[in-house]
Each structure stands twice: as C-alpha cells, then as structure tokens.
C-alpha cells in the first residue's frame, strides 16, 4: 500500500495547521502544508493528494460568520476540483473551522457525481451559551457511511469554538442525513452514552451531532480537535491515570491513523484515467 499523501490547506487565520500536520505524520501520511492562494492558482495540485485537510483556526477572523469567506473561496475557485477529488475516491477532512468551511462549501449535501449544489439545509450556529468555549468532550463514532470509523469508538479531545452548534433547516434534513448514514460523530458522556445536555454537549447541537460525513463517507467534518489529544500528557486526567504509567499516546491518534489508512492509494487510482 502506498503512503497516503495529505494536502493541508491553510489561509489567513488558520492556526491549527502545525498540530494537524503532526498528527497526520505520526499516522504515517506524507504531508504538504500549502497556502490556499497557491492551490487556487494551481487547482491540479489536488490531484496529487489522497486526503485534503482543512484545519482549525479563524479563517479571515471568522468575520461575518465562521468559515464564511473561506467557504466562498472554495465555492468560487475550488469546488469542481474538490468534487472530482471526492468522486475519484479521495478523502476530505475538516476540523473545527475546517468543518465550518466545508459546511459553507456545500460538499456535505452534494449528490455524489454532481457538481451542482443543492440549497444548503445544515448550518453551524452560535453556541447556545453565546460564547466561545474550550473544554474537553467525548466523541463517539456512529455507524455511518464513513466505514473507516469504527462504530462505538470513543475519542476524548478538546472542543474550542464559538460557532459549533449543528442545526438543520427542518426535520426532513435530519431524516435525510440519518437515512444516508451521514451522522458520523456525536457528543457522548465519558461512559459512552449519548450526551443529552450541556456541557457534555458543549454547544447545543441537535441530536448531539459533533461531526458529519457526505453520503460517500469520504468527506468528514467535526468540531472537536482529535489532533490535540496525541501525546500521553494531552488528556486532562493524565496526571491521575499516569500513576500507572500506562498511557503511551492520546486517543486522538487512532482517529488519524484510521483516516490515513482509509485514504491510502486513492490518488494512484486517479492517476489511471
């Protein structure tokens, strides 16, 4: 199996690029960090990648709305090559601001194979608390189109955002997401049961949704940050559990390992027309 090549896109205000690159590299990917301007100038660069990653941050200051301007740039300059990338088997990951950007881009609601976007039915709204909050949450992987995620997998990691409340236009949108296996990650309590209230559900998301995928399972976005739980001492309880000295890594690394493995070789498939 060939090494997974990941392209991490950054722009003004991207600020989780370094830890995201590190998590991908520790998971075995070969990673290139590129400024959005360069990819807009040469969209063909997406063809060199198995995995395109939109890391966290405050792109353009989150001015107007989180991810709005970056999303606009994707729709205007990169939508077609991104759709082609997904349609030929490539993966896309958006974390936090990257998730907000992907929601703005419309990629989650696209019919596979189509380049026309339907009207958007999902959004990431201001947190119910009306403030930015940084706190540890537990993610639980759901049975979904992203088959590389093992259902039931629990990933404790920090959430840090002000606009992460997943909302839908109406119930029909939610049913459609469920029917197509798009609900990928939910907020859970430490014991793995679904979070039903703040702060385990940190932002008031409907159905405690923390992350979704597109119907192919190859485009995934989530608000919390698995890349911030990589080292044994990232977890807030490590000084308590380390009494045994057992921790060798953070639970977030497994998330990246699975993704990098799933994305491996998709670029090679594309190289043969």
């Amino acid at each position: 199996m060939s090494t997974t090549r990941a392209l991490v896109l950054r722009t003004a205000g991207t600020n989780c690029d370094a830890e995201t690159v590190r998590a991908l590299e520790l998971s075995g990917a070969s990673v290139e960090l590129v400024h959005l301007r360069r990819v807009l100038a040469e969209p063909a660069r997406l063809e060199e990648a198995d995995l395109v990653v939109f890391p966290g941050g405050f792109s353009y200051g989150d001015d107007v709305a989180a991810g709005r301007i970056f999303g606009l740039e994707l729709r205007h300059g990169l939508l077609e090559p991104l759709c082609r990338h997904v349609d030929r088997g490539g993966h896309v990951l958006g974390i936090c601001n990257g998730f907000q950007v992907l929601v703005e881009s419309g990629l989650f609601e696209r019919e596979p194979g189509q380049h026309e976007l339907p009207p958007r039915g999902i959004a990431l709204h201001q947190n119910a608390s009306n403030r930015f909050e940084c706190r540890w949450v537990t993610l639980r992987a759901e049975r979904c189109a992203a088959s590389w995620l093992e259902p039931g997998l629990l990933i404790p990691c920090p959430a840090a955002h002000g606009e992460g409340r997943f909302v839908v236009r109406d119930e029909a949108v939610l049913r459609r997401l469920e029917a197509r296996g798009q609900i990928a990650l939910v907020y859970a309590r430490e014991d793995g049961t679904t979070a039903d209230a703040y702060p385990a559900n940190p932002n008031g998301s409907v159905r405690s949704i923390a992350g979704i995928c597109d119907p192919t399972g190859r485009v995934l976005g989530l608000m919390p940050h698995p890349e911030r739980n990589i080292d044994p001492w990232h977890h807030p309880h490590w000084t308590r559990s380390a009494l045994s000295g057992a921790r060798t890594e953070g639970e977030g690394l497994e998330f990246y390992r699975r993704l990098v493995r799933a994305a491996a070789g998709t670029r090679a498939a594309a190289a043969v027309p």
Binding site: C16, R22, H76, A123, V167, W233, T239
Partner: protein, 984 residues
Amino acid sequence: MSPATTTTAPRPARSAPNAWRIEVVRRAGVDDPAASAARRALADAGVSVAALSTVRGYLLPPELTRADAEAAAREVLADPVLDDAHIVEPGHAPAPRPGVQRVLVARKAGVMDPVALTVGRALVRAGLAAGAGGPAPFTATFRGYEIGAQGGAPIARETLLAAAKRGLANEIIEDVLVDDESLHFGPPPPSPRHQLVRVPLREADDARLEAISRDGHLSLSPAEMRAIQAHYRSIAREPTACELETIAQTWSEHCKHKTFTGIVDFEGEVIDNLLKRTIKAATLELDRPWCVSVFHDNAGIVEFDDGFDLAIKVETHNHPSALDPYGGAGTGVGGVVRDILGVGLGARPIANTDAFFVGPLDLPESQVPKGCMHPARILTGVVAGVRDYGNRMGIPTVSGGVWSHPGYLANPLVFAGTVGLLPRWAATKSVEPGDLVVVVGGRTGRDGIHGATFSSAELHEESEIVSGAAVQIGDAIEEKRVLDALLRARDERLYRAVTDCGAGGLSSAVGEMGAECGAEVDLELVPLKYPGLRPEEIWISEAQERMVLAVPPASWERLAAVFAAEDVEATAIGRFTRTGRLVLRYHGEVVGDLDLGFLHEGTPRPVRKASWSRPAFAEPGAPPARDHEGLLLRLLALPDIASKEWIVRQYDHEVQGRSVLKPLVGARMDGPGDAAVLQPLSTSRKGCALACGASPRYGELDPGAMAEAVIDEALRNVVAVGGDPDRTAILDNFSWGNCEKPDRLGALVLAARGCHRAAVAYGTPFVSGKDSLNNEYRIGERSIAIPPTLLVTALSIVPDVARTVSMDLKRAGSRLYLLGSTRAELGGSHYLALLGARGGTPPRPDLATAPRLFRALHRAIGAGVVLAAHDLSEGGLATAAAEMAFAGDLGCRIQLGLVPCPDLPAGFDPDATRLYSESCSRFLVEVGGGRAREFEAFFEGLPCAQVGTVDATRRLCVEGVRGGLVLDVTIDRLRSAHQSGFSS
C-alpha cells in the same frame, strides 16, 4: 433555498447613507443568543424590554448594481439556513414599523473595523466589486437592536439612548442612534493640508515652553523642554513638528523609563539609576549562563533545548483598557505578541498569560465614579478582548489571574504576556547601513494619535473626530498573517533585524533600529488606510499590526514575494545610513533631520525625591473565628481566590497541542492549577512552566516585603508543578501611582530593593520587565493612586514533562505534608480583609531557608515521590486544602497541632493563624504511604511535617490545636462556593 432578500418598502431619506444597506436578521424560529445577551445588558442598564431581535448591518458601495447587492447578501452576508436579509438602496432608509424601536450602533468615522475590511475583500473575491490590484472598496458595518412593542407606550427615546450607550455600546469608539437612520458612510475627513511646520521654541519663555508641551500633548517636563530648546539654540534653528514629536515619543516615560533609570534622592541617599542598581544588578550578579539576551531587546531570551530558546515578555496596557476594555485588552495582547515577533529575528508565540486588576465587582452602580466604567463591565470587556485576539491568533492563553481591590476602581490594570520559541541562531540582530527600512503589516491611520499638534488651532475644533479615531483597535488576523510571513522570511534569512511598531509607532521603531547608524525615511511611501494624514501623523501613528525590518537590498525582492504570498503588505520606506542622523522627507521635502545622539542621550536626568513611612495601623493579630466553615466558604468565593473557570474556558488554552498541565486540573477539571506546563518541542521531553504572583494588599503595608513575597509566590507556583528553581527566569511589571510624589517613589525604591534581594537569594534572574507609573485618578481635588502593584511572572524549565505534578488529591490513604513554617503574618491577608481589619505584618519569605526548600521539593518531584502539590497563598492552608480536596474528588483530614509554627505572640489565635496566615514558601504535598520516608529524606533540616491524610470521605475535616473538629465540610459545598465567585 436561499435567504429571503426582501426589499422593505424603502423611503428616500436625505440623511440616510449613500450606500447599499444590507440588514441581516435571524430567521423566525432560529435561536438568537446574542439577542438574549443584549436584553440582559439593557436590563442591567435599567431598561427591561419584552422582545428584542438583533440586526447585523453592512453598508456597501453605492456603485454596486441591485443584482450585485442581492448577491452580496446571499453569498457573503446571510446564512441560507439561519438568516434573512433586507436590502435598502442607497439614499434610502428602512420603512419604520409600528411598535418597533430601532437602536443602531456604528463605529465612528476612522475607527478601525476589521470586519468591514474583510467584507470589502470578499466582495472583490466574489466578483461583485472591482479591486484587483488596488485597495478593496470601502464598506462599513453596524449593529442593530429592534425592540418590540411593550404592550403600552414606547420607551422614551432619551431613556433608551442612555441605556443603549451604557449597555450596548462604547461611546468612545461608537455612535448610538435611536430611531434615526443617518448612519455615517465613508472615511474620516482629511487633516488640513500639509505645510512644513516649524515650532518657534528658541525664544520661548518657560510658560510658553510648558504651553507647547501641554497643547501638543507631548508630556515633556519643563526641564526636558529646556534641554530641547538648548539643543535647537546650539544648531541655530527651530524644530519641525516631526522632530518635536519624535523627541517626545522617544523621551516618553513609556519608552525611556525615566523614573526607573533616573536619579532618586531616597531620604538623603542618592540612587543613580534604580533599575540598574536593583533589578538589573541581580541578573548581573547571578550571571546565569542560560540567560541568552536580557533587558536590551523586545523580550528576554533564555536557553531551552535542542537548539531552541524561549523568549518572554509581559506588558502593561492600563489606560487604553480603562477607556475601551475590549479594544484595549485586545491591542495589549497584540502588542506583546509583536514584542515576541520582534525579539531577536522573531520568535513563534506559544503561550499567552493575562492578569487583571479591577475594582470591587459587587460595587453598587451609584458608587462608580463619573467617567469610569463599572469594574464588572471592565472585567467582562478585557476578558473578551484577550479571548478574541489570542484565540484568533491561535496562541493558547494558559495562565493569569484576577485581583480585586477598591484602589483599581478608576484605574484598572491589564497585563498581557507572551512566551515565544525561537531557534538559537535567531536570537541576535544587527542593522547595516544600506539596509532598506521596510514596514510590513497593517496600514497606517490616525489610530493612537492623541489629539492635535502644536501649530494648528483649527485642529482643536476637529478634536472629537480625531480622538474618536485615536483609539487603537486590533485586527488579530492581520497580525496572524504577519506572523506567518515573518517567520517564513526569518527562516530564509531575508532580513537582518526586526522590531515592532508599538508606542510611538514608526518614530520609535525606526529611531531605535537606526540608533547606532542613522536612517532616512520617505513618509509618503507609508501605505495609508485613508488619505489625508500629515507627515507627523504618519510618523507617530500607533496603528496596530505593523513591524519594521532591516532588509539587505539583495534580499528585498524575495522578501516582498514571501510577504505577498501571505497577503501582507511590505513596503520599503527608506534606508539605514551611516550619518548618525534621522532624516524624514515628505514628497522630497525634509520635514525632520535629527541628531540621533541627542535623540537617545539628550534626556535630562532630574533628581526625584523619595521617602516612605510605614502606614500607622495597630497590629490586629489574628482574631479567633467563630464559624470557620462560613469563613472558608466566603474566602473561596472572593474574586482573587474563586474559580476563574468562566474566564479560562473562553480562552483557547489547547491550541497548538503543546499542553501538558492545563489551567484547570483534577477529576472534574475544576481545580485551580498552580502553573501551566507546556511541551514547546515535540522532539524534547523538556517542558516549561508559566505562572505569576501579585499581592497589592501586602504592597500597601510594606512594599519591600511585598516584592519578596510576590517573587516567592511566582516561584512556588512553578516549583509546585515540577519547574526547576535553578532554571527559572522571572519578569517584573510595576504598576504604580505618580512617582513625582515622594511617597509613591519611596515605595518603588523599597519594592525594587526587595526584588533584588529575593532574586539573588533564589538564584532567579530577571530577564525582562516593564513599568507603568502614572496610575492616578483625579476626582475633584483628590488624587487616588492604585495600590503599589508588582506582578512577577516566572518561566521555569521542567526537566521531564512526564514528571509534572498537578494539585488535585490522587489517592485515599496517602499522606499530606506541609512544607514551610507558618508565622504570625496576617497583614494583607484575605482573612483580615473579610473581618474588616486593616494593618498587621505582611508575609515575608525567609530568604535563607526558602531557596533550599524549593530545591528539595524539586528533587522530590524529580524522584517521582510526589502525587500532588499545591502552594499555599491567598487564604492560606484552609483554601489550599479545600482546593486539593474538591479537585481530587476526595477528602482529607488535617491536624492543626502538627503544622510547623513557631510560638505565636499574644493576639494570634492558634487555629486561625494556622488556617489563614499567608506566610510564604509553603506547600501542601500528597505522598503515597509507601514512599513517605523517601520523601521526608529530601527535607532534612527543613520545615516539613505530616499534617494529615487523604481519605475517600469527600469531606475536609480539620482538628484544632486543642483537639476537636474546627472544620468539617463536604467538598461539594467547597466546590460550589469556589464556583460562585463571579455572578457573570
């Protein structure tokens, strides 16, 4: 479905802005937490409204077609799921709706608006406005609040206006309109046209000199004005406006530290340069080889590991934060981050620390002095400012504190600090004649220019416009872009020196960089936010997010490309020379030509008188407490002690993924950690611990003892988590009253000497510092000074992050040890403050014992025998034990009779003293039973005693010295008291 882009039946209005107006509102049924917050804010300001909805407003260029304006609303401004947009054409106003009152809040002309800049650029990107290559079109933003019918009469316009001004806006930077649609649209008016201004100084008498300084807001003393006059007499010409401004900026207290480096007559003893004889002397005497760069650059630099060093700087940003807490604190963060970008050849910021000193948070609104904001509003504002700047830049805010005291009511203090990481080769800089002077980052506007200059009487009439624009507003993403571009250019070694544009703007930055050689600058080359700035305005503007580089001409082309790739403007505005002069031109005309020797060395050094006398209070001792439980619960809820979780969670303290020990620790992540620990390099197991200490209550009683105690506290905090006391650097930040007054200066002398004694005793050099010395507020005839405030920040190397210790109790059955002696030192304690008693002896560390104790604890932590450690500070043993217990979700039992405590004088209740004394150099330490002897061996000959045990009762039980329980309280009560300190 796209957002409804309705056009509400507009009405032409002469006063309405000539701009497309897009008003974005939440769609019916969509939750709007911002509306709830606005309703609360109005209610706090005295107006209760039943229904309120929010409007996010944008003014776009009138040149857009209707289709473009609709596309802008749909594509850029409104969310298709959450929002509706209303579009109003230029020159029109939305039709009034019966029963709806509208409050609009808009920035004053010329006040920086980062969102508007982003919208302008987005219009270009979406192909809705031309602008490729040129500047983006001008746009503006505003906020609206629509208040629904009350079922009765509308709210009186004046009442609503007053409440909106208090609760929804900041009048210094914003206009508030009620049922009035006359929003301003356009850049600020230009300054009167430039003519070369010479200030007639040579023949002026003292009164005239004083008037020139005062009217020009130069803040130059009579002696300084006379020195300038003598200089210009000697060169037989008058100064230009640019020259005088440059001298004023360079000689300002902020830049020159005239008081700290001046001559002090302390009760007959002459001290030539207090800074050099105390703070710097300690560093010099200690001569630590790991100090890479101290006191001469924008930050201190110490060795770290693996070819990397750490830089650290802490700044004060007091006055701007009093005027505009949000913007002031934000620019405070932005400024100190630029210090780190501007140290050596630039460091990568990896952590922020922020400390706030505010008035009483529960003060009745009626007692807030005229012209001041309520302390709670100030605190909320500065927290939001730090949050938005730090989070946007992606720098974790990991450390800080809040101190509340009546003395800060009119003079809140804001300290912002940053730690940076840089490769060792980048620690030094140089400037060569011939290098280009390059300014990078944000554009220059009238930001931070204080009012008018000397010559133009007309300018005074415009002073309102000018002062509106004078407030500095930050744009964190501009600074993030600068960071991204600068560090890439650094690693390609494209420049030889860098410094930030802070106080004094370009005048200070270029003046400092060119100090050894000379520089010439063509001011018309500086990119401007809007036209119409005079050359001296360009030269001293404190517009944010700018840095100055010295670039070898051969590197210029590549450097320009690196910055362009990150969307950062880089402009060559001049050259460094070998003339020893600072030459300023504007469109070819010389508007300034200064001798750099005079500029940097010509400041006169007057002798200032200083004296100090101990405040006359009777010794209150330590009165006995009748209700220890009630007292402890009140202590835990004091702002200085209570949980800062509401603040900490608003900061992204995890970004960059370097966190080892977070600000909040323990089983439920609610324990107040002593210090944050980071792992700066993933390739090294070494960490760094960051913490601070301050205690203004001690400072009022004995500034010298306070300085020693505060250093001890900062060190306790880093040592408790595993920091090496022999690899710890400290920083001093003094905020003081007016040091022209002998008692204020006398207190400063004592504190500075305390700093020297303690730093030498502990072996911890000062590597950087900053002072802010004019914190007084005049109410009528009375001038109120803040309490003497020294913030000490400690940065310590943790030899192995895997050995880091947190403060939460870990295991039932383990032992609790108390390190250090408890003494009759309750002066300035929170215990006495709660009892309403003043005076007493404040704590003072035993400088012979404490350093040995710290080293012993460090060795014990290194040996892995410490399960938990917590320093004893505000509230003493009682609060430390309570915090450890609830943080660990465990219980403990403590016997006060076992606490190491020498015989107490009369008047000191033995239980109260042991529970609440804030004596220095003490720790409560949890040790597993099996390793007790090993632990004790580290402390031979030092005060160390087992005082209790850890259990699973989830109660804190304390036995008094005479036996019998004096305290028996559940940790749930302790925790909820600790969580209850801030009502917001």
